[in-house]
Symmetry: C2
Amino acid sequence: MEATTDLVQYLSGFVTGERLSRFDEVLSRRTRYITVVLEDIYQQHNASAVLRTCDCFGIQDVHVVEQRNVFNVNDEIALGASKWLNLHVYGKAEGQTHGAIALLKKQGYRVVATVPDKDAVPLEAFDLKKGKIALLFGTELTGLSSDAIEQADEYMVIPMAGFTESFNISVSAGIILHHLGHALSQSDLPWQLNSKEKNELKLAWLRNTIRNPEQIESHFLAGKK
Amino acid sequence: MEATTDLVQYLSGFVTGERLSRFDEVLSRRTRYITVVLEDIYQQHNASAVLRTCDCFGIQDVHVVEQRNVFNVNDEIALGASKWLNLHVYGKAEGQTHGAIALLKKQGYRVVATVPDKDAVPLEAFDLKKGKIALLFGTELTGLSSDAIEQADEYMVIPMAGFTESFNISVSAGIILHHLGHALSQSDLPWQLNSKEKNELKLAWLRNTIRNPEQIESHFLAGKK
């Protein structure tokens, strides 16, 4: 922890003050209270739009499950958003959904499947106070797998008032993350990152921003000996 | 009005009772308190996703302005949503934005430009009570034209907390229409259609649903003589 703090301080000297305060501003809005799980998303523009949305609303962790499809990020659309997120990729294989959900439950997440099902909990009535949540979003054509549906603890729906019965995945994620993210930021819930997490993230962002970070870090470490 | 009512009643005999009650249910949630203006959207998947969102949240009128680009609806994505909406298309020509906005102002709309500008009114603080609104959404790469920005009465932004500075147009429309649509439905504002409007819409939907509506209508009119 202290070593990280020293290194962060040293590397901070290599970026502008403006950049540093932007880092702090963004860090103060980051959360792991909500996390996102994308199952088998295969259209690049959707995948990338969801990552952009996560960055915009402060969702730090995105779990990418590849059961049948490989997740491709279109960087033009993601506008580099993935650079600032922690992507946890469960590489293409059967049963990845099962593993990812089990892991998240172990970490204390309530696993919430987003479904076009009228009997599910309406987004606006969803209770964030019951604990941190992992939101599952399914593949474009068929939605979440039966594995995901079976393992989920809760179900959420965006209430709809028209003839169309479902949204595009990126629109759906945008609506849900905006609504819950806003509700979270207005709440007294412990949604912010702790200082250790902030420090680690800042280190990763500094490394992403500085040219030749390895060289600079070697220099720093040599000076410490 | 009365002629429409009679015709609606007659045509209602040609669809199932289930279909009719679906029409009434959807009609009870339709609004013209919020209307959407799309300026020069050229990516089919965006255009179509926005139409689907409008149908889902009960927005009946969509104004499509083509200054430089022709608006194409991808029906696979729109899932037939456009069939249930009133699309007002201002065909490809210079100055169409100007004309569309002038018309909406004449109809009593507050014209609200959605912009990625931190000084604009945050979505969550936007006051719907001041009157009905027309929301302007701009083209994918460059956003709203200077014409649109200059003519707008008000400006709205989705507050963002990350490094990415803007959303995809369909995500942006989804977030704004969900938030305002929900607020509207919870309010005492006069957002519903009046019975004349409902009747006209029902007639259009019946015509969209029945096979050979012209033939059936001729038969009905002949019977009235």
